[in-house]
Each structure stands twice: as structure tokens, then as C-alpha cells.
Point group: D2
Chain length 446, copies 4
């Protein structure tokens, strides 16, 4: 069972104009999911939901936001997963159950989803979507506990894996982050109330102020006329996804207590120290590797140049390439500045290599543009193991670093040199206090 | 809990090209539901579903039908219900449960849906839509019986009301019609296999031949390399919805054993005998009252004239009327032929009067067009009671015949005379053998 | 050069809320053109135009109508012509020229368009569309006359063929109908002003009253604070298109002084007298032949039955037929009532036969449905010659009556008998006073 | 008469698969116009045109490109102009005239368009759009010269202003650049043929190689089996738009013989020398000012930081801001990295200031994010005069530099300091050899 909630965004708002604020937060977190978007609000009596395929600005407009009345709202952006665009897999997931109405949003991936689902199905539950999020609803609905809080706690004791959950009942909002804290989740102050969101960049646009991260293993309960209640439902064993810092999060977010931008620059600096090379310029693969490249340049004193331009108009329609135009898809996205790189020795900074196919095409583009030497520097270690906690990684044997060592990859992509960051260096750059998940690099699942 | 499956259409195909044949059947039954359309097919291993808002031809094209592989398919057209266009309420409803995968379509309305749902919810079931169809899935999923057939039988023993259900598992198709047989459901031969559909007009387009009606209280089971198995799961107490003959069904369908067209003509004939009037011409309110009017004309010898033209381009967008244009919405749909009706005494035949507002506007249109006398003849009795079995009737106090007698209604709509068909006459016309539901006329629910 | 303005609709409104009234008129005349729709209005200083592909209700909404300010407006519905959906061929056509701004709508077909265009092109005019309407603009723009009225008169002296033109300048509206009066054009009173439209059914919806037809060879000029001025620019030699009565116009319109509905019924009556047949029922091919069939039934005393149902949900998307389903396209549109026609002798009334392919399919449908005898009665003479004045007829050799006599056609379509109306009978039915064009039947072009 | 062709893109391809190559070129030049896109091709006998509103990838797909057959094609991207989305103003403009068929695309603005149009209108020409491009067609159509080449030359002798024209006849392609060479236009080798495009970035994607710029006052003629013919139709007096280097062109293009990226970096370097400031970091307003900022950082040794993130998902729909959220539109596009800039002294590099309103909002955003000092450095001189040659500048009194001096602007936008580049410095940076237009800075129109 694939999780569809991996690299998604969740938000919960407990304040006036809740839906509009949730909309702004989702807009700011659009980079975490472009497939579908949705918001549920509660007006105290009923839960209202609007969700559909498309970008936040496709799904919502003033008229629709106006229908989402109430002072509580939760929202979700769904990450695009190839080929499956079922509207049924959009969130929030809504359900009527014995305590009333409930809506849930989920960012993460439950590792025991199959077993839990099997058990639930054996006991008569039905599943209408392929989302592991449905597990939670069933666990809560089947519980004999007398109130929602206790039921959620019961459910959380059962599910394993990565999750940032936000639950909306008619009168309360519950927020829970898994004991490993795989995905980021932060608490902010907004107006007279509160906001919880996957990334702090959502706070800036929605007009909120960062308070603190929701702790791994912590549940927050929001209720009218009360201060937020914090419940520790599990011992925290932080295993925060280091890929948020490498690639997922927006550079203006603060994730796991560290500025994403700063971490990326620091990774670039370390990469420059660890894997130096003589070259004329440092060039990032835009947009995600810009910060890393700035760090590499700063440390190495090799000038930073914006040598590859990214076309943001791409959209979904691609035309069949003519025979004489190779690598059309990558070419339509990325354009090297010929006049700049011709005859030059380049350090190309990319955040990661997964399959290796794009890197191969980038090297080819740069060669065609006249680059003299191409030194690939990857701001993360070789990805050798699939992720079970929420990153949309391919099967193990599709991971190029699982099949090849660095030298073989270098030959495959056609670079003059290739280096990855070491795991230790990554930890240092991300100020790891043994609190990050490194499983995709070292296979230590837990 | 409102049923959304009232005046809908269901189809099940057990033959080659199942999805394409289901599509054609749904297309022929478009008049039963225009809000959403969907098909699930099984290829023996997996159930595939495509459903969306819109007309059959909006939702499906060759490419989509091609994805619905397999030799079994079920389909559904959903009736438009004002204001609620949630895609979640489209059918087929799909679920994974302990015996595998299942899809259901439903035409009808379960009268004990609330109680069953309450009980299910009390026992931990959750409901994600507002469709009573979800009840069935839960009952089946929770059952301890060892196979789907027994579970469906168990579930059918619990639910009450109107239903034509078609269930699709990975390898079988089950069809069930409620013991009262409220909604029509017929069995046909198609290619080397079978088809089941709400209306026989679906058979004609899909290339099938009518065999017989599915009996009230009968379940049919279709399985590869076997003849269809018939199971009688309840004593039949036929209470077939007489409104199918009055208004719902297409005139080229055979419903409850009688040609809709013939019944309507006969109702018109009886109306002419029961409620004669001296007039220059008989004019139907198109399209649904044409057959009734032909019967009235035939019997009364008053010439039939197509005195009101219906505009079929209407669509959804209506422009704000100018102050000087009254009744714009009805005027955009219906246009009297002035030259024909000017100075004439008209018998206007309509199939029914529910709220009375449209009749009032029609009379006003005809007066403006110069009609000398307007005699409304309604080819059904006064609708005094709401329907709990599936017709989308308004609340009791919105039913004009609940508040007014015929004379008061006549004054309200402005006609020169107004007569309804008697209940006895209706029964006679529809060849009732005490096998129809007349609750909306006489309040005899059961 | 093909005309694209053939079976189109034009409207001109000279009154308050001009654009909204033009919209209603276009909506009522949607049957004359479904490809594109447009309106130009003048506020006295500027001409505003909105036009696009699609039905009237697709192109316009309240917001767009609100932009079309002013007390004068002209509108157009464009007839669909296979394969060419260029928005450039939508009307009104707008132009800036030496006297200011101008918009034109045109219903008809100019027979000397090629020569006029060649001459214009030789003198330096350019043509941006394939519409013969552009000729008019150039003739007007090139004229040396000092005012628009004289220029229009000059232009009308040059162009030949069928036209109902409406011209809008910033301050005036001009209406002109060709000397033969091929296409219908009527004048009505609306509010404190006037309306001109292709069909009188537009008056009913827009809230106008019929005054009289615009005469062949007449120009009407509308100007603020003045009574409409009538100018006779050519000797009228009426050759009004008799196909308007046979097929084009809506039955609730009065065309060329006669009620379309009455004419069609009378044609049916004459057909019954001229071409009697012993049969069980008279069945129209819906929707266009219903009135003719009523007349046939009335005269022959053979009962009228609505034996073929038309599906109005068709839309544009058709699915590829399965091999076993023949004639799918016709089947999706037309459904015979099996129970009614099985074993019966039918008189099928159709308004005309052009290529013969549809008739062949209808006969085949009815045979499949069990008809015992099928007697086709066509309410118009055999179409042997192409139309140069505006009907979208195929090439001469595609006209089945050009290649076959009635008996050969009967065999081809598979009917038991086939008769056409005689030309004399047609003239009698349409109350012809030698004022109709019969060229498509007798080849007398003029 | 406003020009709509200002900041647009044109392309002409004379080779196999011409339309597909034109499509790729237009895609690469999407930044020059997002309102509409179109391509005309010639197959030697007919000219085919497809154009519509929307981005290149909205307008074209494989099926549409396949309809544009032939070995010659011209294309156009139209720049968005507020409020006017008429499809009639899309290009190519097509016309039939006395020598056959012709299509034209145009990038630029004709300064004597009104006079020429008036004269043309006086002589009987009509104008159907508001595009000055129509002038050309009329001039060519009215000419008495015997071939298209001579007619184009005649027309070019009449029109003044900025233009890059590409003309397509059935068998030839003509390219002309105005004597001042306002807009860029380059010639490339593609396959066995040639390509002409507004920017060289189009060559890279389409698979072409840069040959040279089309010279100011030069016409190129492409014909089958012949080498391109070059005709000098006017003395070149280069006045190339320096804003192409400042803002319009893509950094990977070579414009007017210089790499855009290099020029921008050099402008940044000069700005650093001319207008130094003590600060903690140099931050660009993305995306257009990144290269300038890199130059400023390089020269000043103040670290370059990507302190403002641009959201590329913006789209067209904006939600009404809540009262408490100021500057929402700018905030949805631009997000400062709080953790980076808090308490820091910033040099903000922007390419230009036109109205000043966006700058004011950016300063406000940065203040809210905690910046200690904000020093605006503008990589171009103060824009004091409107452009008549093609830039979409506002009216003179809307140009903030026309009303205020630098100190007043500084106060208005709330910065701690503000400096513009001097005109001399700009010329130096762009390697001006007295060949650029500087009218918007110094008012020297010519």
C-alpha cells in the first residue's frame, strides 16, 4: 500500500477567518503538493469540506472560501503521484461516526498501515480509498473510549511510521506528530488564535508568528476559550527526515529548529571542503540547489554563477520531441547560458541523485553548451535505500547508488568528476544531534 | 438523511466489452440522472472505477472506457440534487473489505437508513458520504458469513425501502431488487452474456434483448461459465412506483411489464373520459406529457396540437431577467405557438402538479399568447404526501395539493378549469393489480 | 468561397438594455446556429463586441452582457460548418473605417462574392476571414459617398444573393433585406423601441410584438428620437426560401407571413391526400417533422403516434461503435418505441431527404424494432439541385435525388414505399404566390 | 493607438518540421508574452493558422502542430495587456490579397501608426483589430508593385518606429528589422535551413545555431533552393532598446551582440563601484535581478544571498486579502527569508523602478521580516520618460521618477538609501557604441 501523503502539506487554523488563513498557508506550501488541495472548516455545528484536483488557486476562490464558515479549519495539499489522480484520494478525509463528524488531514506514511488495515478489515471495516489515513478514522470510530481525545490517543498507540495529523471535530482541533517527528510541524500564533502547519513559510504569508515546533510524540488540543492543551502520548525518539533540509522544504522555512537556507548553505560549504575541485565557476541546478551552491562558492572562493536558467512555464503538456532533439523534457525545463559556460570548468551542485537519469541529461546539456569540465558535487550522500516514511523514492533497484558506486555513476552520467557528501558531513551541516532519520543513506530503519 | 439515489439509473453488464456496453446503457438512461456518472469494471483481479460530475458524454470517452477492462461492469447515473455536487456522492461506491474489493451501484431510497446507519456507527463504522448506499457496504463488511453471497443476503435482510442494487466483486456480479420492487429493473441478453438495467431503453441502444424483469425480492448472481443463479431472498410484496409510468421512465421503455408509452396514452384516454371538456385543441406540456395528450386527444376527438415548443439548448446558465420579462426561466424553456392558440380553447395536459409554481407560469404564458380558455388536465392524481421511497418530492407543506383543493389550485394557477386523474383511474390505466405504490396520492405507506 | 452565414440568425435591437434583449433573441434562435455567437453594442461613442465559439449560453453571462452597454445592439448565431471552427469567422464583424466604427451581422449567402472579392482585392483590399460579409465592409469603406446610408446603398447595389444585413454605427442601426427576400427578417416593437430578427420566435422571448416583415429590397434606418426610416433600395422580386417552412424555422415562428406550424401541418395534409397509404400509424422523425406528421394524421385519419424518441443529451462526443452495433450515431439520437411499432404498418414522415444516408439508417432501426411495413412520406419534393443562396446543401452528386429516382431511393433506403411531395403541392401548402425560391427542387436559379 | 506587440516574441522557421520548431522557439520565449500564441505555416499552396489565448502549451499540442504542415512557419507570443483579451488581437495576422495569401507577425510599435492608419482609412481601408500590424497588410495590399518583395519594401519606407516583422507568403518568408533595430532579431542555422527569432534562447531549445543578428534596416528573403537574400532597405541608425538588457530578455540570450547575463553582471559591478554601501549581504529581487546582484556582490565583496524567494505557482486568481494582511499580492509572490535577514543590513538589487509601488511593498516586507537597514540599488537609471517604441510603460505622470527625485522616492518607498545607475554607467555596462535607445532615461526621442 503506497502512501499518498508523503511530501504533502497540512495546516490547521484555530482563529477567525480560519478557512481563508488555511488557504494562504496552503498557497505558501504549494511546493509540497500540486495534485489536489482541500479545506474542511467547522462552524461549531457542521463540518464543511471543499476539495478538488489542481493547485490551491485552481481549487479555491473567494466564493468557495466564503462557504467554509467557522473559526476552525484544516487543509491539505496532495503531492502528485504519477497516474493516480483520483479525487477520492484528496484530503481532508471526512467521516460521520458515533461521536459525530470528523475530518482529518495527514502528512506522512504509516509503516504498519497494511497490518492495521488488514486487522481492521478483518473486523469489518471497509476502505474506500488507497490512503493510509483511512486507518485512523476506523481506529477512532471503533474505539470504545468515551471521547475523541482518548480515541485518538488509542489510535496513535497503534499506528506506526511518519505522521503529522490534524483532526477536526465540530468543536475541537487535535494535532499530533509521530514520536519520531519524521515530518516537520510547527505551531504559530495567529490573530487571537493559533495555527499549525508543515512549514513555517506558511506562517509568514498567513500573518502568523512562529511559537515552537510541535514535539515528536506530542498532541495539541485546541478548544474555544481554552489555552491549547499539550499531551505527550509517546516518548519522543526524534528521527526527523533530513531530506526536508536537503530538498523538500522551502528555503525560507525553519525546519526542525534550523533555517533551511542556512543548513543548505552550510552543506554547500562542507561539500566544498570535503570535495574540493579546481574550477572556473560554481553553478546550481535550479531551483532547489541554489542555496547549496552559494555555500560551496563562499567556501571555495570559486565564483557563483547562475549558469542554468529554469523555465517556470512548463505546465503539463509536452510535445513529442523531434528525432534530432534529445533530452527534450529536461531541455524545456533547464537552459544553460552558453556564453557563460563555454570553455569553462564547472562545479555543478545538485541536491541529490536518485535515479541518475536527469543528471545524465544535465551533463549532456552542459557538454552541448561547450563546458570544458563538469564536476558534479552532490549536497547529500548517495541514496541507497528506499524510504518507508514518506519520501516518494523509487524501488531499491531503481536507485542508481544501490547498483553503482560513485565512479560507475560518474561514467554513466558522463561527468569529469562526481562526489557525494558524506553522511557525517550531512549530519554536521544539519546540526544533527542524533535526531534525524538517515535510513535512505545508511539503511538503518528502526 | 436524504437519499441521492432516487431517480437514478443503474446498469450491470456481464459480457465482453462490458464497460462500453454499460456506457451505452447509461447514455440511454441519461434522463434518470444528469449530475454525475460512473462505471466500475472488474478484470478478474482488480476493480477499476471512473466516475465524475457531468453527463455520461462528459465523463466518458474512448480512452477512459478503454481503461475499464474486463468482462463485468456496473454503472450509475446520478440524479441532480440542488446545491450538492460533491463528487464523493457519485457512484459506483468502491470499497476494500475483508473478502477483497467490491463496488456497488444503487437506485432507490432506504427508509431505515438512519437507524441502520446509527446502529452501524454505534458499532464503529464510519460514513464518508451522505449516501445510504454506504450502509450496504458496512453491513456486508461486518458480516461474519464466509462468502459475499451470504453477506449480501444478510444485509438485504436488514435494509428496508426501495433499492435496485448491483454489486461487483472481482469475479462475480450480484443484482438485487427490493421485495416491493419500487424501482424498475430488467434482465436482458447481450452477446453471450447478460445485462441488467433500470430501464429497457438501455437494452435497445446497447444491443440487448429483454428477457424479463428482475423480480421483487429476487437476487441474481452472475459468474463465469455458469448460468445466472436466481435466489429469492424475500417474499415479494410488489409496490412498484407508479410515477415511473407517469413521469420518470422514457416512453420507449417497458416498465413493470407495461409499455410506458401505452400506459401514458391510456391514462390520457381515461382522463378524457373522466374529465371531459369542450375545447379546440389538446396541447401537451412537452416533453413528458406528449403521450398522455395523444391519448386524451384520441379519446376526446379534440385535435392534438404541439402548441408549446420546448427549447432543448437551455443548459445551466440563466441570465438575470429584466424587470419587464416575467417568468423568464419557464419562458426560456417553453414557447407557445401564438398563431395556433390565439383565441382558442385549450386543454393543457401535464403529467403532474407538485408545487404548482410551474403550472402557474405556463398558464400565464398561454394567456399572454392569447388563449381564450385554459383547461388543465393532469394525468395523475393530486400529490398530497411526500415520497420516502425515492422520488425527489418536496416537504409535505410544499406540495400544493396538501394545502389546497383542486378549486383553490385552479384559482392559484389561473386556469379556467383544472382536473386531476382519480387514483382508481390511474390504477386502471397502469393495469394495477394491487402491485403499485400509491403512497404519494393516498398516504398509505407500509 | 463558401458562405458561413447561411442558416444563421441575426438580431438588431434599438432600445434600452439592447444587449440583453439581443441575447434573449439569440437564445430563442439557437436552432439556426450553434457554432458561435456574438453581440456588438454601441453606447453612442464606442462599439463593444463580445463573440466566441459555443452556444449563446456558453458565450454570454450577466457579467459579459453588462459590458455591452448602450441602447443599440446587433447579434448573430453562426451555423456549424464541419471542421472549421475559426473564431475569426464569428460575427459581428467589426471594423474601423474612414467614417468611424462599424459592426455587421449577416444571414445569407452572396452569389457574386467571389467576383466582388476579386475586384476588391485587385484594388488593394485585404480579407482576413473566409466570410463573404467582409465584402460589404470593404465596399462601404471604399465608397466616396459622404455618409454611411449612401455607402450602404452603393454596396447593396453591387452584391447579389441572399442577405439579411444589420449594420451598427456608433449612432445608427441599418437593416437591409435582399430584393429576393431569401431569408426571413421581421420587425417588432420592443419597449419604446424596435427589434429586427430572423425569426419571430425571438420576439416572444425578448418581450416584443411583431409589426411586419422587413420587405425584400427594403432598408430600415434607426436613429435616436426619430421614427424608423424606410428606404426601398431595389425592386422586390420575392424568392423566399421555402426550406424555412419545411425545416429551418421554429414552428412557433411566423415566416414570410405564414405560421410555420400551420404550413407544416398543411403540407402534411396535402401529402396525405396526394400520397395516401394504408397503415396503422403515422410516426414523425423528431423533432422537425412532428407538425407535418400531425397534418398527415389529421387528413388520413391514421392515428398519430410518437413512435420514435429523440435523445437531446447527445452533445459532441461519440464513442467508437462496437462492431456489433450498427448505425450507432443515429441510434444514439433516435429510439423507436418497440412495443408500439412491432408488427405495425408505419407511415414515417420526414421533412426532406438530402443524402439519403440517415433515412436508410432510420428504416433499418425501425425494421430491427419489428415494423411490418415502412412507408416513407417526405413533406417536400426531391432535392435535386444545390442551393447557392444559403442552405448548406452538399455537392450536386451527393444529393441522392440527383442520382436516383424515387423508386431507386426506396430500394436504397429499404422502405416499402416512398413518396415525395410534388412541387405544386408544396407551393399550395406554403401559400406560394410565386414568391418562393424553388431552385433546389426545379433548378430555376435566377 | 496602443501597440500590442511591444514586448512580444516572433519566430520564423524555414526548414523541415517548421511548425514544431516554431513551437519550441515560442516556448523558449514565453517570458516575452503570455497572453496569446499563434503559428502560421505554409505548405506551398495554403497558409494554415492556429492561434488562441493562453500560454504556448495551452494553445498547442501534437495534434494541432500536425495540422500546421509545410516547411515554412512563423509564430508569435503576445504580451498580456490588461483588460483586453480579444482573440482578434492575437497573431499571426492572416490576409488574402491580390497576390494571394499572407501572414504576418510583428514585435514592436509603429510610432506613425495613427497617421498611416488615418491615411489608409481615408483611402478606403478597414481595420478589424487594434493592432498596428494591420497597417502593413494594407500598405502591401494597396501597393501597385508587381511582387511581394517590392511591396514590402514600399511599406517599410512608410512605417516608422520599432518593428521586427516576419512575413509568410505561400512560397517565401521575408524578415525585416527596423533601421533603429529597436527590438532584437537574430538569424540561426537549423537543420538544412534557417531560423529567425527575437531571442537566441529560442535557438538553443529548437536545436539551432546562432549565425548573426539581422541588421537594423536589413530585410532577409528565404526561398526554396536559394541562399537567403539580404536587402538593405534603409540606412541603419541603431537605437537598440537597452531595456532588453536590463529586464526583458532571458539571461541565456545574446542580445545586440552581448550576453544578457554578462551585461547584467557588469551593470551590477558598476553599480557597486558607483553606489557602494556598507552592508551584510546583497539580495536580488527575483527572478530578473539575480544577475545584477551577482555582479554587485562580486565587486563589493559583500556576500550574495538569495534572501527573497519567489513563488512560481501564482497564476491568475487572487483571493481578497483580509484586512490584517497588507500587500497580499506582493507577499504571495515574494517571501523574504526571515532567519537570514533579521537584524541585517541589506543591499537590495532591483533592475528598475517604474511606478514605485512594488518597491514600496518590498521594503515593507523586508522591514516586517526584521531587516536592520535596506539599501536599494537600482541597476538602471531613473525612468523619466514614456517609451514610444514598444515598452509597456505607464503615462508620464505615473512614472515615479518623473515626479520625484531619488531622495523623495527613497522616502516614499521607505528605504534607508536609494541609488540609481547613471546613464553613462549603463552605457558602459551595455558596451554602448552610441547604438542604444536611451529615451526613457533622457527623453531623447529621435
Amino acid at each position: 500500500m503506497r502512501s499518498l501523503n508523503e511530501k504533502c502539506a497540512v495546516v490547521g487554523v484555530f482563529d477567525e477567518n480560519a478557512a481563508k488563513k488555511a488557504y494562504l498557508a496552503l498557497f505558501a506550501m504549494q511546493h509540497r503538493g500540486q495534485e489536489a488541495s482541500g479545506i474542511s472548516s467547522s462552524d461549531g455545528k457542521n463540518i464543511h469540506t471543499i476539495k478538488d484536483r489542481g493547485l490551491v488557486n485552481d481549487v479555491f476562490n473567494d466564493e468557495k472560501i466564503a462557504k467554509l464558515t467557522g473559526k476552525m479549519a484544516i487543509g491539505h495539499n496532495r503531492y502528485s503521484t504519477a497516474g493516480d489522480d483520483s479525487i477520492l484520494d484528496a484530503q481532508p478525509v471526512f467521516a460521520r461516526y458515533d461521536l459525530g463528524e470528523m475530518a482529518i488531514v495527514h502528512n506522512g506514511n504509516l509503516t504498519n498501515a497494511q497490518e492495521v488495515r488488514k486487522e481492521l478489515i478483518k473486523n469489518g471495516s471497509i476502505f474506500q480509498s488507497s490512503m493510509d489515513t483511512e486507518n485512523l478514522i476506523h481506529l477512532i470510530a471503533k474505539s470504545n473510549a468515551g471521547n475523541l481525545k482518548d480515541r485518538i490517543l488509542e489510535a496513535l498507540a497503534i499506528v506506526k511510521g511518519a505522521y503529522s495529523f490534524i483532526f477536526l471535530s465540530r468543536t475541537k482541533m487535535f494535532v499530533a506528530r509521530d514520536p519520531h517527528g519524521f515530518r516537520p510541524l510547527s505551531l504559530g500564533k495567529i490573530g487571537d488564535g493559533y495555527i499549525v502547519a508543515s512549514e513555517t513559510c506558511a506562517f509568514d504569508l498567513a500573518g502568523a508568528k512562529f511559537i515552537r515546533d510541535v514535539e515528536p510524540g506530542e498532541m495539541l488540543i485546541f478548544e474555544k476559550n481554552k489555552e491549547p492543551e499539550s499531551v505527550r502520548f509517546a516518548e519522543p525518539i526524534p528521527k526527523q527526515c533530513i531530506f526536508e533540509h536537503i530538498y523538500f522544504a522551502r528555503p525560507d522555512s525553519v525546519v526542525f529548529g534550523e533555517s533551511v537556507y542556512n543548513v543548505r548553505k552550510e552543506l554547500g560549504r562542507i561539500l566544498a571542503r570535503e570535495m574540493p575541485v579546481e574550477a572556473d565557476m560554481v553553478v546550481p541546478v535550479p531551483d532547489s540547489s541554489v542555496s547549496h551552491a552559494l555555500g560551496y562558492s563562499e567556501e571555495s572562493k570559486i565564483p557563483f554563477e547562475f549558469g542554468i536558467i529554469r523555465n517556470h512555464y512548463v505546465g503539463r503538456t509536452f510535445i513529442e520531441p523531434m528525432q534530432e532533439i534529445r533530452d527534450l523534457k529536461v531541455k524545456m525545463k533547464l537552459s544553460p547560458i552558453k556564453s557563460l559556460i563555454q570553455g569553462k570548468k564547472l562545479v555543478i551542485i545538485d541536491d541529490s541523485i536518485v535515479r541518475g537519469t536527469t543528471s545524465k541529461k544535465i551533463v549532456s546539456l552542459l557538454r552541448d553548451a561547450g563546458a570544458k569540465e563538469i564536476h558534479m558535487r552532490i549536497a547529500s550522500p548517495a541514496v541507497k535505500y528506499p524510504c518507508f516514511y514518506g519520501i516518494d523514492t523509487p524501488e531499491k533497484n531503481e536507485l542508481i547508488s544501490n547498483r553503482m558506486d560513485a565512479e560507475e555513476i560518474r561514467k554513466y552520467i558522463g561527468a569529469d568528476s562526481l562526489s557525494f557528501l558524506s553522511v557525517d558531513a550531512l549530519c554536521k551541516g544539519a546540526k544533527d544531534k542524533n535526531n534525524h532519520c538517515l535510513a535512505c543513506f545508511n539503511g538503518s530503519y528502526f
